[in-house]
């Protein structure tokens, strides 16, 4: 899949994953990749910069825990992140409908 097309939606998908509850990096990445049905040919590591960017934007907050002797960083959707997710979902729906309409695809993706 074209990475340019992916960049605009990756953060939205991460926010969506975290809207279900706090999660850590590997779990978030796996959830996104698994839900995408293997459509995203991404390196797992390439998702971390997006996570950190969402954290710097105050859309996510984080905390550390101990797991099997390792430190694990959990991310949690903030109130601002929740609002941003709602807005981006709305934008995406409008965009997808528009694109689908143009392409003659009558099924939605959501």
């Amino acid at each position: 899949m074209d990475t340019k097309l992916l960049n605009g939606t990756l953060e939205m998908m991460m926010l969506e994953v975290l809207s279900q509850g706090p999660s850590y990096g590997y779990e978030i990445v796996q959830t996104v990749l698994s839900r995408s049905g293997g459509q995203f040919e991404l390196k797992e590591g390439s998702l971390y910069p997006a996570l950190h960017r969402l954290e710097r934007q105050k859309l996510l907050s984080s905390y550390w825990t101990e797991h099997e002797g390792r430190r694990r960083k959990y991310y949690k959707l903030s109130a601002a992140g929740r609002k941003a997710l709602a807005a981006r979902r709305q934008e995406w729906q409008s965009f997808a409908q528009g694109v689908n309409g143009v392409l003659g695809l009558d099924y939605g993706i959501v």
């Binding site: 590997y26 590591g45 971390y48 710097r56 550390w64 797991h67 960083k73």
Partner: protein, 546 residues
């Protein structure tokens, strides 16, 4: 399981401003991911709880393959975390660099500006010097050629020429005076001598109304020319001057006085005030410093001008000594020239009969100088046209009205006189604030002592006994303090011998400046009675006056 990978391989060197846990947080997060991924790979390969080395290595390799380069990911995360600080540092460095460059550029510009300013200043100074030099040359050129002088605002070049009627230059003197128009310029007043070329360059004068008093040296006459200097126009005045004075004339008075005055020992002071004469359509006056040119003529009853005596009298009035004793020369009768005169009869004086021995005794006479003259009555005058009986011989006649006025003055002056010098009496005068005389005589004699001042004559008769030594002391009084007075000692002619003897035996008058140490002598009453009994009158004697 330990991921055999160096996550910090691509990280920048540690910085002072980076958070202390940043690197470790990145490593821990990525390590946790890779551990989870390795476990997943092992599970996916149906691995055992305790995998062998090859299985683990393969799982780790697959996990890394799916993850990407951990070192690059760690570097990317570190850079993202430090982005703001790095940017701030870059901005700071950039600004510092820009500021440094700006300072350098500014310094360079300032140096260039300073350098250029010095060059410009030097050029300006050079230009100013060249301008000054050019201006000086221009001034010198104009000085040598005044015709090229450009017109100036409010000032004009003024030149004058004194010429005769034939156009010849005339020497003289010019006095320019006047008031410039406008502004607050001071009045102009200066004198220029005019040389043999008759030219005088006054220079620049502010415009205004002026008058030039021109003195023609040879003619001894003066003319006043009024003129205006207009702005920016050269003024060149040409004055036609006389080159010689009017012809001299002999003047005499054709008197025919009334009977009362025919035998009176008087003379008349007559003033002649010359009027201007016309010469070359201009008025010219006699040049006399400090007066209007009037002449006082002393004329006796026969009409003869006695100015020799008058002049001498005037000179000796303050000395009390005969002219011969002072070595003075008599002044000739003034030269009269052809002018239109205004004649003024001044006063009557009594100079003659009491000085039978000659003019040298004029000064010795007790003449009340103003006894017959009252300025309040004014003067009598009339204009006289010269009447030429012969060439340059003028005769002046007094009109009947003038004689009537003279008679009136004569009578009043006779009444005003408070002293009549007896016939044959002689006078000896001394001057000073105080006199003290010691008279030694051998015969009985009378002596009159009096104070002759401008207020009149006040005298005393003293009876001096024979062989008596007396002291006379006369004090002028406080009213005459600081003035110079003339004391008169008169002696009767029939007793003149006694006085002569006395004089020969040492009659002296001692002048003293102060009487502080002297006792004031008081005339005895008996002496005063004798004085009052004398046939001649000297006015009221002042009793008790020392």
């Amino acid at each position: 399981m330990t991921i055999p990978h160096d996550f910090t391989a691509d990280l920048p060197p540690p910085r002072d401003d980076e958070p202390a846990s940043l690197r470790q947080d990145i490593i821990d997060e990525l390590t946790d991911h890779l551990e989870c991924a390795t476990r997943r790979e092992l599970l996916a390969s149906g691995g055992r709880q305790s995998p062998v080395s090859d299985e683990l290595t393969t799982a780790q390799s697959r996990a890394l393959t799916r993850f990407g380069n951990p070192a690059k990911i760690a570097r990317r995360l570190w850079l993202d975390a430090m982005q703001e600080k790095l940017m701030a540092q870059k901005i700071t460095l950039t600004l510092a660099s820009v500021a440094t460059v700006a300072c350098i550029v500014l310094c360079v510009l300032m140096w260039q500006a300073l350098h250029q300013g010095q060059e410009a200043q030097a050029a300006l100074l050079q230009q100013h010097q060249e301008f000054t030099q050019a201006l000086l040359k221009e001034f010198q050129s104009l000085r040598s050629n005044p015709e090229a002088l450009p017109p100036t605002t409010g000032w004009s070049q003024l030149t004058m020429r004194l010429v005769s009627e034939s156009g010849e230059p005339v020497e003289g003197q010019v006095t320019i005076s006047g008031t410039p128009i406008g502004g607050e310029r001071a009045d102009v007043n200066f004198v220029r001598d005019v040389g043999p070329d008759g030219q005088v360059d006054i220079g620049l004068v502010p415009y205004g109304n002026y008058q030039a008093k021109v003195v023609a040296t040879e003619a001894q006459e003066t003319h006043t020319e009024h003129f205006m200097v207009t702005p920016s126009e050269k003024s060149d005045l040409t004055i036609v001057c006389p080159t010689e004075p009017p012809p001299a004339v002999d003047l005499s008075f054709a008197f025919n006085p009334p009977e009362l005055l025919q035998t009176a020992d008087i003379c008349y002071i007559v003033s002649l005030k010359p009027h201007a004469r016309r010469y070359a359509d201009s008025d010219w006056n006699v040049t006399v410093e400090g007066s209007d040119g009037s002449l006082d003529l002393w004329v006796d009853a026969s009409g003869e001008i006695l100015n020799q005596f008058a002049k001498q009298w005037g000179q000796l009035a303050g000395s009390g000594m005969p002219a011969e004793a002072q070595g003075l020369k008599l002044h000739p009768k003034p030269i009269l020239r052809e002018y239109l005169y205004e004649l003024s009869y001044g006063r009557v004086v009594y100079p003659l009969s009491t000085v039978p021995s000659g003019y040298s005794y004029v000064d010795k006479m007790a003449i009340p100088s103003d006894a017959t003259y009252s300025p309040a009555r004014g003067t009598m005058s009339k204009s006289l046209e010269p009447r030429h009986e012969t060439e340059n011989l003028w005769k002046i006649e007094f009109s009947d009205n003038m004689w009537a006025r003279i008679i009136q003055d004569f009578r009043q002056s006779e009444e005003a006189r408070n002293i009549t010098i007896p016939e044959g009496w002689e006078a000896v005068t001394v001057k000073g604030d105080r006199i003290e005389g010691r008279v030694t005589v051998h015969e009985r004699t009378n002596v009159m002592v009096g104070l002759d001042s401008e207020e009149g004559f006040q005298g005393w008769n003293l009876l001096i006994s024979s062989a008596e030594v007396i002291s006379m002391s006369i004090n002028a009084g406080s009213g005459f303090a600081g003035q110079e007075h003339r004391y008169v000692l008169l002696v009767r002619p029939d007793q003149k011998q006694a006085l002569t003897l006395a004089q020969s035996r040492g009659l002296k008058f001692f002048l003293r400046e102060s009487d502080e140490d002297e006792d004031e002598p008081v005339l005895h009453e008996s002496v005063l009675e004798e004085i009052e009994a004398l046939p001649v009158s000297f006015g009221s004697p002042r009793r008790g006056h020392g």
